[in-house]
Point group: C2
Chain length 89, copies 2
């Protein structure tokens, strides 16, 4: 798998938008935008901004939803939702 990934965290939206656009122009296959928890909404925002404003010919491919078990700060484990959105030119 030579997959291009952008993992969405707490930086400003536009830095991820820029990363996706850069990878779209360089990538041979899909660019996959990944996020979990509260960042899922931001991942969808990023994909929509890329598609509506910068790469109007880009196509949204598969959207995968999942659950990940992570260590809680207080100890123990909690479940966190995940999303993976594929986009290609």
């Amino acid at each position: 798998m030579s997959e291009n990934e952008v993992l969405v965290g707490k930086k400003p939206l536009m830095s991820y938008v820029l990363a996706v656009i850069t990878q779209l122009s360089e990538a041979k296959g899909d660019v996959v935008i990944k996020a979990r928890g509260r960042s899922i909404s931001s991942a969808v925002d990023i994909v929509q901004i890329v598609k509506n404003k910068f790469a109007k010919d880009a196509k949204i491919g598969e959207v995968k939803l999942g659950t990940q078990e992570v260590e809680a700060k207080e100890g123990g484990k909690i479940n966190v939702s995940t999303i993976e959105i594929s986009i290609r030119k």
Copy 2:
């Protein structure tokens, strides 16, 4: 279209989980979970809780992403991201 919908807003997650489970048991076709903006993360949480805890045989179908124009409180229009997740038994 006799589609069953659950629109995710600001109620506690479990009230939407319950609504989805009820509709899944009554519906003939898909149940569609819709959300916009910050509620998108909650929609994914709801689908994952339904699938992992209550309806393990449920299948996630199409996941549609989109953008909606809404009136801003301050006047003018803003773009809000949307998600629609189909789930069926």
